[in-house]
């Protein structure tokens, strides 16, 4: 059996490194073909992993927090976990990819520095989200590039299309541009300048502007947006779902109909975006997955499985959307 090495930065989640390490332990139990490099506190790793024979530890207690100036951190924290993890991912030939729940900006800079692809100027982070019609929508960029240029959005459209074609087997992925109206005249300056570029690009199947209420409708397979706007789509979706689930619990109590909590439980399964996976950094030499700050142990198992699927060149999430309708 072939050994896949996955490199995991254990610092970053809101709940601390323990969630990552627990996830790593589960992953080892579930996937005998996997070996790991874990970057982080040596003692904590040793105490919480059973099968240490399949783990290489790169010990460090240094990391880049969410509030730090990234460029300064890069100068002063050469032993930050995210930097060591990216270096390891590059160095190890059997490494199929890397996971981190650390600072998005720092992750991107690490990717650029150690895993840059010769043909691409600017990587982005793609989040693959379950769409209303049972398909999946690839949202690019989800946080790596906050202020974008039209040529960056153009590149994200190409990267997202390639990703959905190769990993999801969609021959001609429909590409939409997030805007505040469907008409080609709608949009902020960035969107208005990007529209004709996407329209003229023959390598993609551009379907025009997509409004926020149709963002995850399945109208497009790839939704292009700057990182700031994409962050709103992600977080507002999640926030609204969480709020509605709470509404249902309140209503169930108020009407004295406990059976309604079954509806809430069903929705919680569909809209738990934090367990679903992470964002995949596109446009670099090896796949790197950015897990969100609120990631739990299960997130790291799920995202590691995305890396395994990519390595196996299988369609991602294969058969995973069965309980969605």
């Amino acid at each position: 059996m072939h050994n896949f090495r996955i490199v995991i930065d254990t610092f970053g989640p809101d709940a601390g490194p323990i969630e990552v390490i627990k996830g790593a332990d589960e992953l080892l139990k579930k996937h005998p073909e996997v070996v790991l490099t874990l970057v982080g506190n040596e003692q904590l790793i040793k105490e919480n992993i059973q099968d240490l024979a399949r783990v290489k530890i790169i010990p460090t207690d240094n990391y880049i927090s969410n509030t730090e100036n990234i460029m300064e951190a890069f100068m002063n924290k050469k032993d930050a976990s995210i930097i060591l993890a990216a270096q390891e991912t590059k160095a190890q030939e059997d490494a199929i990819g890397m996971l981190s729940a650390g600072n998005s900006g720092a992750l991107l800079v690490s990717c650029l520095k150690f895993l840059a692809s010769p043909d691409l100027a600017r990587p982005c982070i793609a989040a693959v989200l379950p769409a209303e019609n049972g398909s999946f929508t690839c949202l690019v960029d989800t946080g790596a590039n906050i202020d974008c240029t039209p040529s960056q959005l153009h590149q994200f459209a190409l990267l997202g299309s390639k990703f959905m074609r190769e990993l999801y087997g969609i021959e001609s992925p429909k590409v939409g541009l997030l805007s505040n109206g469907v008409e080609s005249t709608k949009g902020n300056k960035l969107v208005k300048e990007t529209y004709p570029i996407l329209e003229a690009e023959e390598k993609i199947n551009f379907v025009g502007n997509i409004e926020g209420n149709r963002a995850l409708s399945g109208d497009c397979d790839v939704l292009v947006a700057d990182g700031f706007s994409a962050n709103q789509v992600l977080k507002v979706t999640e926030g609204t779902a969480a709020r509605i689930i709470k509404d249902i619990f309140i209503y169930s109590k108020k009407t004295n109909k406990p059976e309604f909590t079954e509806v809430a439980a069903h929705l919680m399964k569909i809209y738990d975006l934090s367990s679903l996976g992470g964002g995949v950094v596109l446009g670099i030499a090896k796949p790197v997955i950015k897990c969100r700050g609120n990631s739990k142990a299960i997130t790291f198992v799920n995202t590691a499985e995305m890396l395994i699927n990519i390595a196996n060149n299988k369609t991602l999430f294969e058969g995973k959307d069965n309980d969605r309708s």
Copy 2:
């Protein structure tokens, strides 16, 4: 009984002028103290309004569509309904305000041209939305200003605060800035430049950055954002709610439990943002309400009641959130 005049532009809704005119008819029946100026197709108005004695008609069949270049339209369509309505609102002393579901940009230019306030440079559109904790959040700007400067966001913060203080009786409204992270270092260029300005402004109670998942949590009373990002918050909220309601119907059918549709019906009442009201243009001489494109007859009744409440200087939506928890 005092007569309030409300000026209504009948062009604009996706469903055509008939929804507006039906709403006007209902409004007249419900509010004997109201008289109307209706701008639009004379015959259609005459055919669908019972009490024509309380209606002044300004006949026109011209309007500015959503896809037009606004400045060109202003030059060439002097008799567009939105322009005539704004002129009438200014001209009639008893006019307490105006309603329109027309082109946001054209509405804003009309407001600037005919209803400008001497002390303000740039109006904005405020949407007042029901927040999770039962309070209301004023989102500024919701579409009038798509590309913004930090000084515009500063002005929106001041306008929104004044609105929530005067109309909702909140002494020191909490002002949040929509961002992609709560830390003061997070944000796109616009947000990062706006943050210190809001922090230094003594006339507002600035509570820092607010992420999309907390946008309508009630963490702030006024949420400041450029029109493009605010549009995402509004539409993604609405889209997610609509999708979840559909999910519940599907689940109800799948599990053969028709009682679950009661939950969906309850949620539809809470999240029907289109009937809730419209955006109020702040920073001009008289209140003007922008109704959304998907407005129904009931929307025009509800928004006209907002104008009546403003004219009566009563707290808006008074007692309206009783069935929300």
